[in-house]
């Protein structure tokens, strides 16, 4: 299957990361946000733009920023002028696809130092509501005439998962509580809610049953950036490079009404590819910290199972037992994830990769997990339960 024929010339390391404040309604334009994050990542690596060979930009739907061809538009702020620059996008999975694309630029030998930047500004498209922009993801012929809103499909997936795995809403709400509390340690976070309880989640506005307001991440503006380099360069740049050990990505069909929604096949296949490359055969034991994609609380559980960090239907049990807490045996989203830090779509995925970088380097401060971190994982998902992207990093 996937991954068997992957060959590369160079090992690749992350040597710097940056991110902006994650907030709704930011003063800066998308280009300015991209610049703030990119500059921070360069500064952290001790580099300037002239040291960068290639630029990879990630941004998800054009419709949010209200700008046509956002890659070209963002290139200014992302440092891409007069350089080989490309934009990649696979919906919500984009944020982890950006370092994957940066990886192949370096691994192939094409570029030695790559700047990877992801940006999203959701608050522009607020009329009549940010939701409305998501109409374009539905099939125009068999779905749009039913006048759907985005949350329908996720509610359908969540309910299917609850049904198949016999999961209660209380158990799912625990994810939201954990992540919104974890976000209090994050300097960029939008939603720090130190005292939030399961009851608060269960009492929040019902949007599309079983999805309630606090089951969902907020709409957010923000940007994140990384600098990746070949082994030789990385060793020159820093004493503490964080290696990209494995990458994986896959797409499933957009015909989501033809398949079971209780298990994320798109994650399993992407994870298998990344694990094979990283030499991981027991992720539950070999991954020390993970940042799975959590725009909805049930998605963290779903994705833990797709990633093999929990058996099928086991993630809610691990969550209830505290295993996934920051000081637990398998810390999941110690950053606060999208539910806490915020969800500027592509930037949120890249934020997760940056978090793993900081966790491996022991630089996550209040978010630092209690156990030693040798290997971490970030994952994102996009579109109609469809696009999966996974990256494994470590020392």
């Amino acid at each position: 299957m996937t991954g068997r024929n992957i060959n590369f010339k160079h090992r690749v390391a992350v040597v710097g990361a940056g991110m902006t404040l994650f907030r709704s309604r930011m003063l800066e334009t998308p280009q300015e946000l991209a610049w703030l994050a990119a500059k921070q990542a360069l500064d952290e690596a001790g580099l300037t733009l002239k040291d960068i060979d290639c630029v990879v930009i990630g941004s998800a739907p054009d419709a949010f920023d209200g700008v046509h061809m956002k890659g070209e538009y963002l290139a200014e702020g992302a440092g891409g002028i007069h350089k080989p620059t490309v934009r990649v996008f696979v919906g919500g999975a984009t944020g982890v696809f950006v370092p994957i694309a940066a990886w192949w630029h370096v691994a192939s030998g094409l570029c030695k130092r790559v700047l990877a930047v992801a940006e999203e500004k959701m608050s522009h498209a607020a009329k009549p509501h940010t939701q409305y922009v998501f109409r374009y993801i539905w099939d125009p012929i068999v779905e749009k005439p039913l006048n759907p809103n985005l949350i329908w499909i996720f509610a359908m997936e969540m309910h299917r998962y609850m049904h198949k795995c016999n999961v209660k809403k209380e158990d799912i709400a625990l994810v939201s509580v954990k992540n919104k509390r974890n976000a209090c340690g994050h300097p960029s976070a939008q939603l720090c809610m130190p005292n939030i309880t399961v009851d608060d989640v269960l009492k929040s506005e019902v949007l599309v049953w079983p999805v309630q307001l606090y089951d969902i991440s907020p709409t957010t503006d923000g940007a994140a950036a990384l600098v990746l380099a070949s082994e030789e360069e990385a060793r020159r740049i820093t004493d503490t490079p964080v290696w990209v050990k494995g990458i994986g990505w896959t797409l499933d069909t957009t015909h989501w009404t033809n398949r079971d929604l209780a298990y994320p096949e798109y994650v399993r296949r992407a994870a298998e590819m990344a694990y094979r490359m990283a030499g991981i055969d027991n992720p539950r034991k070999q991954i020390d910290v993970a940042e799975p994609y959590d725009p909805f609380d049930y998605k963290e559980l779903h994705h833990m199972e797709g990633l093999g960090l929990a058996k099928k239907c086991e993630a809610p049990i691990l969550t209830r037992e505290g295993v996934t807490q920051r000081d637990g045996d398998l810390p999941i989203n110690p950053s606060g994830g999208l539910l806490g830090v915020g969800n500027p779509i592509a930037a949120a995925g890249l934020m997760k990769v940056a978090e793993i970088f900081w966790q491996v380097r022991g630089e996550a401060g209040a978010r630092q997990v209690k156990k030693p971190v040798y290997t971490g994982l970030a994952q994102a998902w996009g579109d109609l339960m469809q696009a999966g992207t996974v990256i494994v990093m470590g020392i």
């Binding site: 939701q131 049953w209 209780a262």
Partner: protein
């Protein structure tokens, strides 16, 4: 573990509506799309007008496609022909929408779900099946919330033939079949 917290000094400025001017532009006119229905879905929509739910099948892998495609994306070959699904099936998942497409509150929630359709002479597991998203009618809010609706039999409630336009909305909803 060091005490430093990255990112250091995250930048960016939050603004409030009152204290910062926003440049707003409306979409000029009303942009509309004319999507082609294509070969497979074109015939599917024509079928709906006649009160039929049509699909295609691949003889190589045995998959049945509703909504239909003209090719099997798994075997990457042309499908072997058309098949008629019954306008009945079971509910695979269902939810209650309390908000509209623009996030306005609805007065009464709407039930929507995925229906796994019956095809005479064929069996389907949970992993791949002919399925459509549609409204579900005849179910109470509690039927959905309690998940009793899962596995329930439903049957298409068709618009009268003269009102059909060749659209997924030629089916008003899938109605729960009471035994």
């Amino acid at each position: 573990m060091s005490g430093a917290t990255k990112p250091l000094n995250p930048r960016g400025t939050k603004y409030e509506k009152v204290d910062f001017p926003v440049f707003e532009f409306p979409v000029v006119g009303k942009a509309r799309y004319n999507y082609t229905t294509g070969q497979a879905l074109g015939r599917f929509l024509a079928g709906l007008k006649e009160g039929k739910i049509l699909g295609t099948y691949c003889a190589k892998c045995g998959r049945v496609f509703v909504p239909p495609r003209m090719y099997c994306s798994y075997c990457f070959r042309e499908v072997d022909g058309w098949i008629e699904a019954r306008d009945e099936g079971v509910v695979v998942t269902a939810v209650l929408s309390y908000i509209s497409a623009t996030r306005a509150r609805l007065e009464k929630p709407v039930a929507v779900g995925v229906i796994k359709l019956d095809v005479p002479g064929r069996q389907f597991d949970d992993h791949f099946f002919p399925g459509l998203m549609h409204y579900i009618c005849g179910a109470s809010e509690d039927d959905v919330k309690s998940m009793r609706i899962f596995g329930a039999r439903v049957k298409a409630k068709w618009k009268p033939p003269e009102q059909r336009t060749g659209s997924i909305t030629d089916i008003e909803c899938f109605e729960v079949v009471r035994p």
